[in-house]
């Protein structure tokens, strides 16, 4: 087989030219003829009855075309538990609740109208933590449960329970047991492009959504449901994705504002645009799921894990998006990070009057891994073992089947850990530490490591994990690939071009991608679960095989040879006239004859009974949906990795400085190392932000830091030096061996940093973000404890 021409190359992104010249059109830049602008009025209380809404002044304002409240719209249940509505009726449950919406001829007029709406509330007692919400006398936030029955408590009827093996047996067998309680908080995706949409009906009442969704086909389904509720059962929906200014999971659900746009467009007969401000983005765009996590793990005398038990309490906020389902992915590391025979995992979500959460890069994995990997270091300490050795003893191995039923094919976890250990100079550091050489004055250095497992071969979280693709050849030998995948900046279209050119046998410049249009491109479940390159890459290989079969059948007729005697490379058909080597790929030098593919295609097109070549495929990976016990082979390949950091902790200020960050990832195969490194850099720094600075702060349900001055996203000045280490394990299920890598970068960051802080100064920070205040407080507590035990030392 000839060497690969495009796969593995550091090729620039296909969309980079438009983006560096300002030509790329984001939703923020898009306008439609006759378009109106929508604005939303949010609730003034976290929990209150709506006693009355007076919109008369708003309606009277010149330029206002429609004002809607919950009373004006049909029942359109939204969200995973169908507990949300585009506009709230009767009651508000959070400060982000949409109470009314306006469409007007300009954004300013719409905003002015919003301010003219008068709402009379009757405040209710509000609940701002799961603990308060679980109290016996707590008021009910939702009166009805998901099935329409009267609710008994604020607990969601969504119990996550995974039991593998016998945890009691594992606990009894453990020589050492470590336990801890950890927490993570609300984090904003901080997409630089704020959310927006344009909804437009044509005169046949068909709807076009100019959208930024990561799930065009599932969104299309949600919009169709809404149209049915609006009395438009035969309307069609076309979703046209614009250039997307950041995804990270924020666009995996359909959100209230999108349905408000549809309702306003229907009410006015005009296209209506909703465009969030940054403040709105922080308030109304659902965040990463916060979690409180109790964990205990045990190991035997040799350091082998005997059990892991994790209980989680999740603040669901007022409504249910994907946040409440993140335990389905938290289970991945809980059950399968390292070899652990006995596992028990329970998670519960509780309604509160806070904002709510959805998917965000890693889908719960970074939260769960923070608890697991922090606790692994605690356990290593108790067992008197080196934390790295301890991890290597327990590392997953190729061929393992984990207790949850994951079939590990390729696994580079051990290699990743080894490479990070070497890169950090772990042993040298530990020796230096023994001599106290890691401390200079009030600055102490420490090193820490954490591992990760994530789905790397799709994830069957929906009935289909499939991806449809069409390939079309024109008269000039140029290929157009129609894909359902969404480009969110990660570079999927570039990867797809590389894979398609490689697999079909064309020049890269002869391959174009058409995407982002549900009317043209076949179905795909969505750009989530680090699946786009894996799934669309495999679809391209499958579709290319079908296209090549058609090309060779056609060319064989024209050239009077057998299809087996043909190959296609760089747009040239290679013909073997001599015998031998059947079914092998031909090298150009071995061919007896070569001719441009375009010539064969034109001859076929312009002969009597003309033919043109199109191939289509639907690739659905051989993975399984989790069963009722949450077991099964969720993905057909698993991604592994290890993050290692060296920190310097200032014991006077509590400041943590990251001196080095090594990110080793088992990616199967690097399809484009430059774009791959981009995922690792970006993911890792997002993880560092989660670890050290980021938190959407709530006071009585109100976001109090909804801007970039107060919400501390890391800047170029804060960016830490990250060294990506790419480990290739050539997965048999992956396109050219590749596994997913979109999410893994951010998974091990927080525990690696927390472990390094412990290594440096001996305090364990259990609650993210690790602010200087928390470090100082922990150092003071440690000092007080020492003084209490050994008064002479103080």
């Amino acid at each position: 087989m000839s060497a690969l021409k495009y796969v593995g190359q550091r090729l620039p992104k296909a969309d980079a030219l438009d983006k560096v010249t300002g030509r790329a059109v984001y939703i923020n830049d898009l306008s439609r003829p006759g378009m109106l602008h929508g604005k939303i009025l949010y609730a003034a209380h976290a929990h209150a009855l709506i006693k009355g809404i007076d919109v008369s002044k708003a309606r009277a304002l010149p330029g206002v075309r429609a004002v809607l409240t919950g009373a004006d719209i049909p029942e359109i249940p939204l969200g995973f538990m169908r507990d949300n509505r585009p506009l709230k009726k009767g009651k508000v449950r959070t400060r982000r609740d949409e109470v009314a919406a306006v469409a007007a001829t300009s954004p300013d007029i719409a905003q002015e109208a919003i301010e003219l709406i008068e709402v009379e509330y009757e405040p209710l007692p509000a609940l701002f933590s799961p603990e308060e919400a679980l109290a016996a006398d707590a008021p009910l936030i939702h009166e009805m449960d998901a099935k329409g029955r009267p609710a008994k408590s604020n607990k969601l009827s969504l119990p996550w329970k995974l039991i593998c093996g016998d945890v009691e047996e594992g606990r009894a067998r453990a020589r050492h047991v470590a336990q801890g309680t950890f927490s993570t908080t609300w984090i904003s995706h901080c997409c630089l492009g704020t959310s927006g949409v344009i909804a437009e009906f044509d005169l046949n009442r068909n709807l076009t959504m100019y959208s930024i969704t990561q799930i065009p086909y599932l969104a299309q389904n949600d919009y169709l449901e809404a149209l049915k509720a609006m009395g438009l059962p035969s309307s069609q929906v076309r979703v046209l994705c614009q250039t997307i200014g950041g995804g990270f999971g924020s666009k995996l659900d359909t959100h209230c504002y999108e349905f408000i746009a549809i309702l306003l467009a229907r009410a006015t007969g005009k296209p209506v645009k909703m465009q969030f401000s940054r403040e709105e983005e922080f308030l109304a765009q659902a965040t990463r799921q916060p979690a409180t996590m109790e964990i205990s793990q045990g190991c035997d005398a040799e350091g082998r894990l005997t059990f892991r038990e994790v209980h989680m309490l999740l603040d669901n906020g007022g409504y249910t998006s994907w946040g409440a389902t993140t335990p389905s992915v938290m289970m991945v590391p809980v059950s399968s990070l390292y070899r652990v025979p006995n596992v028990r995992y329970l998670a519960e979500s509780v309604y509160t009057n806070n904002i709510y959460a959805q998917a965000m890069r890693g889908y719960g994995n970074p939260q769960a891994t923070f608890a697991i990997e922090s606790n692994m270091d605690q356990l290593a300490l108790m067992a008197g073992m080196d934390p790295v050795e301890f991890r290597l003893i327990n590392a997953n191995q190729p061929g393992d089947e984990t207790p949850q039923g994951f079939k590990i094919t390729t696994c580079g976890l051990g290699q990743c850990i080894e490479k990070v250990r070497q890169g950090l100079g772990w042993r040298e550091h530990q020796r230096a530490k023994e001599l106290g050489a890691n401390v200079r004055g009030h600055k102490a250095r420490g090193q820490g490591l954490a591992s990760l497992i994530h789905v790397g071969g799709g994830a069957r979280v929906y009935r289909s994990d499939g991806h449809g693709m069409i390939m079309k050849l024109d008269d000039f030998g140029r290929l157009t690939v129609f894909t359902g995948a969404v480009e969110i900046g990660q570079g999927n279209e570039t990867i797809l071009r590389q894979v398609a050119a490689e697999a079909v046998g064309l020049k890269l410049e002869d391959v174009g991608i058409v995407s982002h249009d549900t009317a043209i491109c076949p179905w795909d479940v969505g750009t989530h679960a680090s699946r786009a390159a894996f799934i669309s890459g495999n679809a391209a290989i499958q579709c290319a095989a079908e296209l090549r079969r058609k090309i060779f059948t056609l060319a064989a007729e024209q050239l009077e040879v057998e299809p087996e005697d043909l190959d296609l490379s760089q747009g040239l058909l290679l013909v073997r006239r001599s015998s031998g080597g059947e079914g092998q790929r031909l090298a150009v030098a071995e061919a007896d004859e070569s001719l441009p593919l375009a010539k064969v295609l034109r001859k076929a097109h312009f002969s009597a009974g003309g033919r043109m070549l199109v191939a289509e495929t639907f690739y659905d990976p051989p993975n399984q949906m989790l069963d009722r016990e949450f077991k099964g082979n969720l993905s057909c390949a698993y991604a592994f990795g290890a993050g290692g950091v060296e920190v310097e902790v200032d014991t006077q200020t509590g400041q943590v400085r990251i001196l080095r960050y090594l990110a080793a990832h088992d990616v199967g195969r690097a399809l484009n190392p430059m774009l791959l490194e981009g995922q690792i850099y970006g993911g890792s720094l997002m993880g560092v932000g989660m670890a050290l600075t980021e938190e959407v702060k709530l006071h009585e349900g109100r976001v109090v830091n909804g801007n970039f001055l107060d919400y501390k996203m890391l800047t170029a000045k804060d960016a830490v030096p990250i060294t990506p280490i790419i480990v290739e394990t050539d997965d048999p299920a992956g396109p050219y061996g590749a596994k997913g890598v979109g999410e893994p970068g951010c998974v091990p960051s927080a525990p690696a940093i927390a472990n390094a802080i412990f290594d440096a100064v001996g305090v364990r920070i259990r609650d993210l973000p690790i602010t200087p205040e928390k470090v100082l407080r922990a150092l003071q507590q440690k000092k007080d404890e020492v003084c209490r035990l050994v008064p002479a030392a103080c």
């Binding site: 983006k19 010249t21 300002g22 990660q490 570079g491 430059m674 981009g678 801007n707």
Partner: protein, 156 residues
Amino acid sequence: MKRAIEFRLNGQAVHVEARGGQTLLELLRQELGLNGVKEGCGAGECGACTVIVDGQALTSCIFPALEVEGASVTTIEGLAAPDGTLHPVQEAFVRNGAVQCGFCTPGQILSAKALLDLNPHPSEEQIRTALEGNLCRCTGYQQIIEAVKAAAEDQP
């Protein structure tokens, strides 16, 4: 209140009416159709709206439009040659993988250009300082910084 103003925009003379209270961002996007300048926060905190005014990179979302009277303004649309040849900073961003979602990219490039025009061979620390006001969620900044270094190296 509207006032006629004159300034140079991407090398061309512009006569336009600006409102008091109107930001340069609004003038560029709404009146002059230059959508390459982005609004990410509307408060001068994210840098997506960066343009260059008389050699200085600044956030146009909080800069009064009336104040560009007589000034020379460069936006992302003014960097590449009419035949599409990219400015060296744009070229370096493409080649070094410094672009992902791309929403912050015009601002990053203009901040980098303003830096290199003033200081053709900056240290990494100077690059980081110049880009500090341009937030990026996708890249972790590393490939952006590498791109600016590469653009600096390509300069005479």
